[in-house]
């Protein structure tokens, strides 16, 4: 940041629209650990938590039995293990919020990836919301915010670390999901799932292609841009975030040039004063890119990685999502504010978007399985570097470290080790077939490293938020709701063309689907178009649940759901008022279709899943339990994710927060 310019961060934190919301969090970095220590016999405890998203109990045992995970095998011989009950629904934001708060969704208020504002009937992502600045001053074509916008973390309820902070116990939370923007306080944090890229999305790659036959445009999660060669030279425009300081909110951009070797598979990229020589198949490290918002005064800092897919006969250059640069964080990536800078100075730049594995590039066929695997391994390598650094600098307190690799690769590549999966490819290369084992083995090494740091005052938890199931059949539950009279439509011939509930007849609609596992009653007085009187609510909920339980797949005759539940009966807490009315738990192999999540209505009720995102966990919690390994005896029967917060607190000698409904795993219940 140059000293002779207006403070860019100041500018940016005043604008909620710049990238993913630039929270005006005032962190307490300078007061870190300044308060006097309180005497506590357990103050020197060490609690290590390895959060391995998506680690599946069945796969863990499968790999152990095959002798591929010697450290897990050794650990299990001397320590405690249990499958871990997960939340209903078993979605990552819901599950991790229950882990954090030690409570059910009625307390933390996260019920689904997607919530809706009933008054405006608009969906939003459940973990955070962005608010634009309220006041601007206009200078020519520029609109300068006078009052700050903000990003708000919507997760409510207690956290397991707030009590530790109060007692000056050091806390590290590395990439903890459902925690963006990171909480204020003394805990050192790098934000995880929920952290957007510089465009405000959860990852949007750009593919520059010379091939005129490629589909162009925005794909959602990616964009394809055609480029033309003039004597083997290309000029490419990389679009940045929309410019909140410009009255027309034009998109910021940077232009870079490519020169191609006419005879060899090599290119040269010139971008913002840097020259990069790359061969076909080569990835760059992180390249910083700056997007100007207000000439001279304001810019935002991102970074990208280039990957040369093809050079001849057509150029094909993949550019990663533009991540927020941790060396110049223009959004609240860390606590204290400068913590991401400190870490990246030690270990180099790293992916800052919540889920870095580019699953969309594979889904859209931009990446092959092998290319996706290479990118995923590079994400893991970065994470392992951070893990080494953090583990080696940890002395006491609480250490939480999160890994996304098992989860993201299970979504995309679990099919490659399951011959009964419809998308199984018997001819897939060995490294692809062994991909899941590779990531489990990496976790085996991580376990050994952690154990080596433990002493007699240490406790280790290894946990996952859910396991995995094949996802082979898609349930168009929105269409089912129409055919069963719960959602009414104005035109039976047209409603399949709906983009977003376009043909819904709200006056006659009793209930509608929004999100991955949620149904809402169209309740009068609550919903924008509410038509169901409150005393009718319970009857309609019961009717939906009864009918849903009977749904069978016409192809197999199997039931599609394990169960559906009235949220008012299964949850409790101060956030119950915002809960969906019915929560759906799908059986193995089934999940809501992509189309039904946000108000589209395909013709077919149940169809084949053809996307490579072909394993999932948004089913019923009984289908996809997580794992829990602990270095101390697990005495509680059937432990659950929400039991861990009270258990962690107990290790430090603290009682559970009154809103925590979980119980310590170290006590018999």
């Amino acid at each position: 940041m140059s000293d002779n310019k207006i403070n860019r961060r100041e500018f940016l934190t005043r604008s909620a629209k710049a990238a993913a919301g630039l929270a005006a969090a005032s962190h307490l970095g300078n007061t870190l650990f300044a308060a006097p220590m309180i005497k506590n016999s357990k103050i020197d405890e060490k609690v290590f938590i390895l959060g391995i998203d998506g680690m599946d109990p069945g796969l863990l045992h499968h790999f152990i039995q095959k002798g591929m995970l010697p450290n897990f095998k050794k650990f299990l011989r001397n320590n405690s293990y249990s499958p871990l009950r997960t939340t209903l629904p078993p979605q990552s934001p819901v599950a991790w919020a229950s882990f954090i708060s030690g409570a059910n969704p009625g307390v933390h208020g996260i019920y689904d990836f997607v919530h809706r504002d009933p008054a405006q009937f608009l969906p939003f992502l459940s973990t955070s919301r962005t608010y634009s600045p309220e006041k601007n001053i206009n200078l020519g074509s520029w609109s300068i915010p006078l009052k700050s916008g903000k990003v708000e973390l919507l997760r409510k309820g207690p956290t397991f670390w707030s009590e530790l902070e109060k007692h000056d116990i050091p806390v590290l939370l590395y990439k903890l999901p459902a925690n963006f923007p990171v909480t204020e306080g003394k805990a050192k944090q790098i934000s995880g799932l929920g952290t957007p890229d510089l465009l405000g999305t959860y990852g949007t790659f750009t593919l520059f292609t010379e091939n005129k036959n490629e589909n162009l445009g925005n794909l959602g999660g990616g964009r394809i841009v055609q480029v033309q060669s003039y004597d083997h030279k290309f000029q490419c425009t990389l679009e940045g975030p929309s410019n909140p300081l410009n009255k027309k909110e034009e998109t910021s951009h940077t232009i870079f040039k490519i020169s191609r070797d006419p005879w060899n598979d090599t290119i040269k990229i010139d971008i913002q004063g840097k020259e990069l020589i790359l061969k076909k198949g080569e990835w760059t490290k992180w390249i910083p890119v700056e997007f100007t918002l207000l000439p001279v005064f304001a810019s935002v800092h991102g970074m990208v990685r280039f990957y040369v897919q093809k050079v001849h006969p057509f150029l094909r250059l993949y550019v990663s999502p533009i991540n927020v640069d941790p060396l110049h964080p223009d959004s609240p990536l860390s606590n204290p504010d400068d913590y991401s800078q400190k870490i990246s100075k030690k270990i180099d730049r790293f992916y800052t978007q919540g889920f870095p594995e580019d699953t969309k590039a594979l889904s859209y066929g931009i990446f092959s399985d092998e290319e996706f695997l290479v990118q995923s391994k590079s994400v893991l390598n970065e994470r392992l570097q951070a893990f080494d650094y953090q583990l080696n600098h940890f002395n006491k307190g609480l250490f939480f470290f999160y890994f996304s690799s098992v989860d993201q690769n299970s979504h995309m590549l679990l099919r490659t080790m399951n011959p009964s999966h419809p998308l199984y490819d018997p001819n897939a290369p060995p490294q692809v077939k062994n991909a899941i084992a590779y990531f489990y083995q990496a976790m085996d090494t991580v376990l050994a490293q952690t154990v080596s740091k433990m002493d007699n005052r240490s406790t280790l938890f290894v946990l996952s938020d859910h396991g995995f199931s094949p996802f082979t059949r898609e349930f168009n539950i929105s269409t089912w709701m129409v055919e069963n009279g719960f959602t009414a439509v104005t035109d039976k011939n047209q409603y399949h063309k709906s983009i977003f509930y376009d043909y819904v007849d709200w006056k006659k609609t009793k209930a509608y689907v929004m999100g991955l596992n949620s149904i809402y009653i169209n309740l009068y007085g609550r919903e924008m178009h509410g038509s169901v009187l409150p005393d009718e609510r319970d009857r309609i909920v019961a009717e939906i649940i009864h009918k849903l339980k009977e749904v069978r797949d016409p192809k197999t005759g199997k039931k599609v759901l394990v169960g559906a539940y009235d949220a008012q009966k299964i949850y409790s807490g101060p956030q119950l008022k915002i809960a969906p009315d019915v929560i759906i738990g799908y059986d193995q192999g089934y999940r809501i279709s992509d189309y039904s999540v946000l108000g589209q209505f395909p013709h077919e009720i149940i169809g084949d899943r053809t996307d490579k995102w072909s394993s999932d966990h948004c089913m019923h919690p009984n289908i996809v339990p997580g794992v829990l390994l602990c270095s101390r005896e697990i005495k509680k029967q059937s432990p659950a994710l929400w039991d861990l917060a009270p258990s962690i607190l107990e290790r430090f000698g603290f009682s559970a927060h009154p809103l925590m409904d979980g119980k310590s795993i170290f006590k018999k219940m």
Binding site: V114, L122, N138, Y202, G220, G221, C618
Partner: protein, 64 residues
């Protein structure tokens, strides 16, 4: 550009007339049009618009 008239409460119009110059606009029409555009942008292109929510879910991989 085609122009159509709309009705607006007198109190709101008085306020708009009072503040448009302070807010940096050259006319009250430009001021009101821009306020409306901003509201539409929130719905169509804002960080919490349908499009933004779809893009984020797509980015996560849960829908395509």
């Amino acid at each position: 550009m085609a122009v159509k008239k709309i009705k607006i409460q007198k109190e709101l119009l008085d306020k708009a007339n009072k503040y448009y110059q302070t807010a940096g606009y050259s006319s009250v029409e430009e001021f009101i049009s821009h306020i409306l555009e901003k509201e539409f942008n929130k719905i169509e292109d804002g960080d919490d618009s349908l499009d933004a929510v779809k893009k984020r879910l797509q980015g996560l991989g849960y829908i395509s």
